[in-house]
Subunit: 351 residues, 2 copies
DNA sequence: CTGTTAGCGCTTTCAA
DNA sequence: TTGAAAGCGCTAACAG
């Protein structure tokens, strides 16, 4: 009942291989022939069969994407990565499918599924410093690329956020608006130990970049919960009328947050305590997303993770790898993009 | 280099078909034969090829799942649905893949991909009252099941939340703790018009169920934003020392929220206004999720959407449909499960 | 530029 | 309970 390529060939009076050549574009086909084939195709309502194609060509033209749980902020950014990857894959003739495998089973099951021929390569999202998925895929000799990077990454194909550049942009925004003393509201040490990369790198980068700009700085590592943010607000600003107002550098006049969940609680608690933002304290959220940024009032000025671009570039790099398995690893860093909210004040004295 | 079924057969001294029978379990295989085949398999490191199997059997044993954007609360619940569906599918010998197609292109592209043989059936998630994906799949004669239901659903295979039962459970919890006047913080009319089912049904159900329990009631339809929640707090409770304290029924003493984003802003604003929860107002969040419930302090007592169960039951129903395409539609309703936070007060007078 | 010819690795009658 | 044979619908040399 479904028309096959053979039917089309017969109807057009050509060989099946000619139809195949036309569809794949692998070989040139005369305009007249192409015309007849096209007519035959829609006369018969022909739809190419992806399975048969995969079997004959020994590749599926399917890319599998895997992400662990959503529990760490993630949400919007991950979704953008996925969408960007899907679209780019489609443009390049591939189907990107997401495999919702539970984290514990992923290392084994990814290799298993690719081994059974369900996909040609794997895109790993939310990769941790020591990610078992990476080891497993590497051991199986399966082509893959990770969004995020492991600790050891000399041989890793990856696309990641340029944390350093993003933090520096936030500090520059603070410097040019006259801020003098900045606090990092970062990720907890527990997460670093657990292997969440950004938590490690951000503290080092932040301190170094603040010093270079001559800013007072301090770092706090918080669990990714609103309550942790509330607690910090109480701890650091208890008894202060206006956090940044003492002028002596005793208290920060700005916060750079890299912890979406905590910053929401932090802001809410400051407001309950009677502070007004950004008059009393400027708050910038980095590696964030629009949704979190709009959860508070005033909304947060934020640097959003470039999800879509990372997804697109990941697919390109992965397909390059498929085309030339022995090329040196592709490693791409992408900076976040600024999104203006109302949480950045101007502390410059009127001239 | 990869061992094929033929290699295994040769190695075990049997016919390829025998190996196939053993793997599929379609026909009985003698214990002795089975033994020899198993040995051959792991001697050769055999892995069955899913593509070849699909081509020969004319079915992929793949289920495709599609969800539109994440913008409406969703998040955690959707993820649970997907995970539940994946696990159940695996148990039943199927691979569930998620196709991250943009909402606009989904109706067309889903049919296209299934038409090309990429999957046997489709699971639709976050289905709206008038969902073009449903029409398209129906027109293409593709087997599918929706999580959520359309307006016209007599012929639809679906699994959905039992909103009515959930709302009633929330009202019961309020009744037994002595509340007298309940406000619904629902979804906006705009969403109803746009076809988001729960928004429509919840208002009707809420009013009717409140009346039946002899509770004072009122409904507010809010956009799914924290700001909408803040505005409502100001509007309804301006000038009140304690929202539920006037006792005369002039103000509600409890809120049932079915709008995760708005309820966060609502609670925060009440706190900024100086109210204390749940002393001044009880708040229950229904069809919610743990993450939202823990975004505020006190955390919210909530009824969580039964994501995993819906996913599992959706797969079962879909595979039933595949087995018997002419059976009457399966329609399943699942109630939410309660999760205790600290936002429910007790208003009963001490006896 | 087009046709011929073998498969890709498995399933599935049909016989034995 | 097992085997032989004929494909599933397409691709990819190789020839012409």
């Amino acid at each position: 009942m479904m028309a096959t390529m053979r039917d089309v060939a017969r109807h057009a009076g050509v060989a099946p291989s000619t139809v195949s050549y036309m569809l794949s574009g692998d070989k040139p086909v005369a305009a007249a022939t192409r015309e007849r084939i096209e007519q035959a195709m829609d006369a018969l309502g022909y739809r190419p069969n992806a399975i048969a194609r995969s079997l004959a060509s020994r590749r599926t033209r399917i890319l599998a994407l895997h992400l662990p749980e959503f529990d760490v902020s993630a949400g919007e950014t991950v979704f953008e990565i996925v969408r960007g990857a899907y679209d780019r894959a489609a443009e390049r003739g591939y189907l990107l499918t997401v495999w919702p495998i539970a984290a514990e089973r992923a290392p084994q099951e990814l290799s298993e599924l690719v081994g059974r021929g369900h996909a040609d390569a794997v895109l790993l999202v939310e990769v941790e410093l020591d990610d078992p998925r990476v080891d497993s895929l590497h051991a199986s000799g399966i082509p893959f690329l990770s969004v995020g990077r492991t600790r050891e990454n000399a041989q890793l194909h990856f696309v990641d956020i340029d944390f350093e550049a993003t933090i520096d942009q936030a500090l520059e925004a603070l410097t040019t608006t006259g801020h003098r003393d900045v606090m990092l509201l970062g990720r907890s040490r527990a997460m670093e130990t657990a292997g969440y990369g950004p938590a490690v790198r951000s503290h080092e980068d932040f301190a170094r970049l603040a010093v270079r700009r001559g800013l007072g700085h301090r770092e706090h590592a918080l669990d990714p919960t609103p309550q942790a943010g509330r607690d910090l607000a109480r701890t650091v600003f208890a008894g202060a009328d206006r956090p940044g107002a003492d002028g002596t550098g005793g208290r920060p006049d700005a916060v750079v947050a890299m912890n979406d969940l905590a910053v929401v609680g932090f802001v809410n608690e400051l407001q309950v305590m009677g502070f007004e933002l950004p008059r009393d304290l400027s708050i910038l959220s980095v590696v964030s997303n629009r949704r979190t940024a709009s959860l508070t009032a005033p909304s947060l000025t934020a640097w959003q993770a470039p999800g879509e671009e990372m997804g697109r570039r990941a697919v390109d790099a992965l397909l390059d790898q498929l085309a030339d398995p022995h090329a040196p690893p592709t490693q791409v860093l992408v900076a976040c993009t600024r999104y203006d909210g109302d949480s950045l004040g101007d502390r410059r004295a009127a001239a």
